[in-house]
């Protein structure tokens, strides 16, 4: 199948090998585009394409269009669509799946979200637990966007004053303790 935009690298489901996109399309194949997800979505107004549109793209395997969009990054995991989908499809999980594929394949235009997640996980790897202050600092540093971090400055100050941000290292015994686990996961995923 092709669209009238010939540059698409999409191929019809069922002809490719074990591909994450294809698995996802399979999980969503029962979708009948009723639009309940879009109607339920608290954030659909902020999305460039609606969830219904997104699932249609997934069904048709139009990967470019999917990852051109920021829609799945705007999902706040409220699970309303999952709850209300008359077909009982795991839509919120599918949003997560798309995030994962985007990160894995580097398919994102706006790097704020992936960056934040990566920063977060690095902290976890290092300390086992999250140090919010460090996550934020590293995240804003990585973002290199003073405008965004400035938006959070008043909050940071407020939190400091309330004694909520402490320089204390989270209490897991042994730094980098989760390293082996991370490595093992990576190793296993590379295997499959």
């Amino acid at each position: 199948m092709s669209t009238n935009e010939p540059n698409t690298n999409a191929s019809p489901p069922g002809t490719r090998g074990a591909d994450a996109m294809q698995t996802l399309a399979g999980r969503l194949s029962a979708c009948m585009q009723c639009g309940t997800c879009t109607g339920s979505c608290a954030n659909s107004e902020s999305m460039d394409i609606t969830p219904r549109h997104l699932w249609r793209l997934v069904q048709l395997g139009l990967k470019d269009c999917i990852f051109d969009s920021a829609t799945f990054w705007i999902c706040s995991s409220c699970y309303y669509c999952t709850l209300r989908c008359p077909r009982g499809l795991p839509l919120t999980d599918a949003m997560g799946e798309l995030k994962r594929i985007a990160v894995a394949e580097g398919l994102f235009r706006d790097r704020t979200s992936p960056l934040f997640y990566r920063t977060f996980l690095d902290t976890v790897r290092r300390y086992g637990r999250v140090r919010e202050m460090e996550v934020m600092a590293r995240y804003f540093l990585a973002l290199r966007s003073p405008a965004v971090s400035a938006g959070f400055t008043p909050l940071g100050i407020k939190l400091l004053m309330k004694g909520k941000i402490k320089p204390r290292i989270p209490g897991m015994s042994g730094r980098g303790k989760l390293g082996p686990i991370y490595d093992k996961v990576r190793e296993m995923e590379a295997r499959s």
Partner: protein
């Protein structure tokens, strides 16, 4: 009653008052909390975007730690995001046998084994179902009469798992609030989304959601929450939103155990109300007339 207590990272940091008040209230109610030695982050929403397996292994590690003790007790989790992550492991493993093996292959690095069996429960579930209203009534040293409380549930303690309440019209907090002598604010925003992590990554999207919730709460004395993320989102940007919307939307935001603690007469050393970012003067005034100080 004994529970494994998984506080999660937030309660060690920005949500310390949630942690202390939870511990105090459960203690008052006669529950015993067991710490999980060496617990680690559940992965939050970040792990999912990196690796599915990692998003399963991180919470599973904590369950494995608890089951190593050989004690059979439920997990009680105050943070909704942590609750969902922990809860999900059991569900996914239930549906996919191979997953358990893969998880254990990873966990064997630490000599840990994940086993099915331990039940993960949200703090609200425990408060609403393991104790009767009579228990609460008995422990209340003062009635919060005259307070109109808007119960805010957020998303992930209700959805997608319908463990203890209706996922769209939740009501489990109502009897608790009423048992304290307070009144429930009638609204339909209790299960709406606060924007969660988008507050960091897509701030404008989240601010709109929070604004709608605050607006729906008008007429209430305070909103109570059961999730650090919700609490933070609701309390942190009130003046900004009020400015943008051109209406006064500031309102006190408390954690549910803090509210319980106020009725139980728990000392502020444990309630840590001073750590809350949004407590309005009228609220505090009303509170003083009840506590008499």
């Amino acid at each position: 009653m004994k529970y494994f207590y998984y506080s999660g990272c937030s309660l060690e940091g920005t949500a310390a008052e949630y942690d202390t008040s939870t511990r105090a209230v459960l203690r008052e109610l006669g529950a015993e909390l067991m710490e999980i030695e060496d617990w680690s982050c559940c992965g939050a929403s970040a792990a999912e975007s990196a690796s599915y397996l990692l998003s399963m292994v991180l919470p599973a590690r904590n369950i494995a730690l608890a089951s190593r003790t050989g004690i059979e007790a439920d997990f009680v989790v105050p943070c909704s995001a942590c609750y969902l992550n922990l809860r999900r492991v059991g569900d996914h493993v239930h549906r996919d046998e191979a997953l358990a093996q893969r998880i254990n292959e990873v966990l064997s690095e630490e000599g840990l084994t994940y086993q099915k069996g331990l039940k993960t429960r949200h703090l609200l579930d425990v408060l609403a179902n393991d104790f009767s209203c009579e228990d609460l009534d008995e422990r209340s040293r003062r009635k919060l009469s005259g307070f109109k409380v808007a119960p805010y549930y957020g998303c992930q303690c209700l959805r997608p798992y319908r463990d203890f309440d209706d996922p769209q019209q939740p009501a489990s907090m109502d009897p608790l609030i009423e048992a304290l002598g307070a009144q429930v604010h009638p609204w339909s925003a209790g299960a709406r989304c606060c924007g969660a992590g988008l507050m960091t990554t897509k701030k404008n999207v989240a601010l709109r959601l929070v604004g709608d919730i605050l607006s729906a709460a008008r007429g209430a004395d305070c909103i109570v929450t059961v999730c650090p993320m919700c609490q933070m989102n609701l309390e942190s940007f009130q003046s900004k939103i009020s400015r943008e919307r051109g209406e006064k939307l500031d309102i006190s935001i408390l954690y549910l155990p803090q509210l319980l603690g106020l009725a139980f007469g728990i000392r502020d050393r444990e309630l840590n109300l001073h750590m809350n970012l949004a407590l309005t003067e009228p609220f505090l005034h009303k509170l003083r007339t009840i506590t008499g100080c």
